[in-house]
Amino acid sequence: MLEVFTWLADWLVYGLGGLEPDSKLASSLHFFVEDTTKIFALLVVMIYIIALLRASLNLERVRHYIQQKNRFAGYGLGAGFGAITPFCSCSSIPLFLGFTSAGIPLGITMAFLFTSPIINEVAVIMLWSLLGWEFTLVYIAIGMIVGIGGGMILDTLRGERWLKDFAAKAYSQAAERPATDQPVPEKPSLSLKDRHEFARDELKEIVGRIWQWVIIGVGLGAALHGFVPDGWFAENLGSGQWWNVPVAVFAGLPLYSNATGVIPVMESLILKGLPVGTTLAFCMSTVAASVPEFIMLKQVMQWRLLAIIFVILLVNFMIVGWVINLLSPWLFNGML
């Protein structure tokens, strides 16, 4: 079904544009046209359908659900809901305080916040269409593990000691009263029309927010695709020495992008021979360790806690890079 977009790009670039198929420019343009049209078409359809399904899921219900579960299930749920809940990063602080003041442990709240930028419907749709479902599953698993692992480490270190005073107080007060006191948020009853309106607004909102990123991301990916020779990374960076991974993580840090902008670049990097683990480490570091997010969290955390979270994330990304590089001959055998 997706070959339609290849044909469209063939027709536009080689037919109408009259470019020679093996020139660098044509190769870049073809990549750009094929990927942008494919991504936008899939995004519009999928965002709408997913929004229809999750219209009744709100943060109050998510919070209540997580509260009812034991701590260990909590980490998984925190990361899982972080992945599927519609959530804008400007709501991080209210969400953080809402969870904390309900007595949800810091690690579970952070599992939600770690996973949220890494996994979302846009990222999944793009990965699926550009790199295939095996890769997408590995990506989702890694995102969840980074979130769950990061959260558990934070709680083991008793990170809540380094919250700002008012947040720490809200948390300890909640711990003293039984969780059963909380009112059960009711499930909003939505008609099909309400769901349609919600989905339409979500679609407008999300596409309005990310379309530039898609263009920039695919543009960069296309430039890499056309102008960097195949195997360039393997020749110039060596094929997967251990230090490549930390270098990729630190290179990703100052770049701040969302998953939408990075995924098309990832595709090109992998096709040009950068090892998959190194590429993933770079991508995660760009997406999940962002300066704006940290500045926001400063409102509720002391510097010490922020620094710890930062280090946990960096170490997690490096481990992801090394482990996936080791496993990739088995994981992606013949696929990439």
Partner: protein, 78 residues
């Protein structure tokens, strides 16, 4: 005189919300003071998790999105 607080940690949507409410109040001839609240402690005390949210005279009236015109009118006239 209604006291309107727009709760949010300072993203663009919060500014838009405040502007819309100000404009609608003026049109309807309702006396209102619109204030943006960014203090996380205050936002927490309203038990809001999705911003932008709107509180009128200390009571939460809306949360989670930029309210549309109809919603703003109902909020202001209540």
């Amino acid at each position: 005189m209604k006291k309107i607080e727009v709760l949010g940690t300072g993203c663009k949507k919060c500014t838009t919300t405040a502007e819309h409410i100000g404009a609608v109040a003026k049109e309807l001839g309702i006396e209102a003071s619109v204030e943006k609240v960014t203090d996380p402690g205050v936002i927490m005390s309203y038990q809001v998790m999705s911003t932008p949210a709107v509180a009128i005279d200390g009571k939460l009236a809306h949360s989670g999105s930029v309210p549309d015109r109809r919603k703003i009118e109902t909020m202001l006239q209540d």
